[in-house]
Amino acid sequence: MLSRADNSATFAVGAALAFFFLGGLLTTVVPPMVDKSWSRPAPGLKKYTPEQLKGRAIYVREGCWYCHTQQTRTLVADTKRSGWKGVDSPISTPDEFVYDTPHMFGTKRTGPDLSRVGGKYDTQWHKTHFRNPRDLVPGSIMPPFPWIADKPEELGALIAYIQTLGRAKDWRPDQDYEK
């Protein structure tokens, strides 16, 4: 095969594409057909409202996702860090994300994971935090976002989106966390 491919561009092209499609199709097209939980929404999952979608677009626009992940992984430390008042957070499952596009799983945790942050802080906290994170958390390196904090409808939308994160699973020990 090596010498055939060596002298015939057609053969080489065919072989290179065959290898590619074998791996490509088996790892991208087949999995969602095998694993239905990728497309079946979790029982508690709600569709985003127009306001929340607007907030989500701001999250995409400002690149929050370069510093924050949205996945509680199958690691004990993750469930504890996403947890609240001593209660471990449930692990993230595919069915919690079926309405997400673009997905915001993220790859880097310069800041903490946000997969269960919905309901952790109230509106006032977020408002102060977006204006300048260091006013609330000294030592933070999160950028200030005064242009969002100054625009009530953007701020409202972004906070509305943040409060949806992780709500598909009802796990918080007491319900009045938003005060």
Partner: protein, 466 residues
Amino acid sequence: MPETSGAGVRPTNAVPDTAPPVHTDTTAKWFLISSISYFFIVGIIALTIAAKFCWPELLGTVPYLTYGRLRPLHVNGMLFGWLLACDMGLTYYIVPRLCGVKLFSEKLGVATAVLWNVIVLGAVVSLMAGWNHGFEYAELPFPLNLLVVVAWVMYAINIFGTIIKRKYEQMYVSIWYFMGCILWTTFVYPTGNFATDFATGVNQANLNWMYVHNAVGLIFTPIGLGIAYYFLPKSAETPLHSHRLSMIGFWALAFVYVWTGAHHMLHGPISQWLQTIAITFSVMLLIPVWAVVYNFFATMKGQWQQLRENVPLKFIMSGIVFYLLTCFQGPMHSLRSVNAIVSKTDWIPGHAHMALLGCFSFFAIAGTYYIVPRMWNTKLHSEALANWSFWFFMIGGLGFFVTLWLGGFWQGWQWNNPSIPFIDTVKALQPVWLVRFFSGILMFCGIVSFAYNIMATVIGRREYAQ
């Protein structure tokens, strides 16, 4: 294993040299000049975002310059404005020479270069405006994606058109890699930039990671290796150790790479069996890597003394060492136990920069130093400055990689102890980020001395009869 020649007609492992056709190289020149300019400009962006880790309020009130908009600009600018454009420019030089014919069409090539510049400038404007598609490595908005596809087709026509006309029947391994790159990219790029829009959630993420991984594995790796395979024997003036081994490396790469995308979501909300497949194939990546690295080292046998003087060779050989290290790290990260520590930490940018700066940019720089004096029929402005640029990149790069590995590992270790508040793990990394910033300054000095040297070579050239 050692094997000295191929079919016998013409030694396949000696890069053919005789070039009867007169190459004008207009396209290659355009691509190189613009890519080096972006290397410089985007280098400033890189320093800015590194500084923001140390001084988060820097430029903090300007929306266009916030971290979340400059970071994609840095990544896309370096990947597509600098590295891919430089690599393409080098292939416009290499392929006609390996085929013994003129480039299929210089006009088409120049048009491609112009279009490429339009895309990069469009990317700068749209990313700063916050018009972000929302996928890593696929941030560009839809109209620009379309232009990329058009440019890529133009590029493919030119390269394949040249290969079809070739005078030498047997194809040197570099041509293999370029053909692979062009073909795979034709499918990988639309998967990451268009197909993702038709999926959501985990399914979409899986497509996204397939693209991200293969942007590196099936775009930058084959084109970069093809370039190194050409310039190593050229600049060392010695035949490649084994043509056959290079083919084994190529086909192993073709088979293994595409399966590994899901390793970006290990421990995450994605099916366990898919994670296991990704891990298995990630470990198998060691095979093609070993084939390449062995071949390069065996080629250098008896030639090591050349490293003292020969700047392109220095870049290529340190690039290959970084390639080995990166590709050793990659499979290790994909092991579940290691992944639980290093994933999502600052280790990862250390790893990514070693691949794209330490390895593939080093290859591109080597090629540029080699061909620019030849294309303009002159001598390099300053060998000493070129040597300086090497050491700036090398020391800055090592400072960057090593501090981020140590810092990232430590960070991951702390995260796995939930009794440490998150903000303390941020404060703990401050010194690491400061060292990273200063390493970045050294790397930037490398860019400046490289770019200046090339500029002075071109502008202040004296023609030499060769």
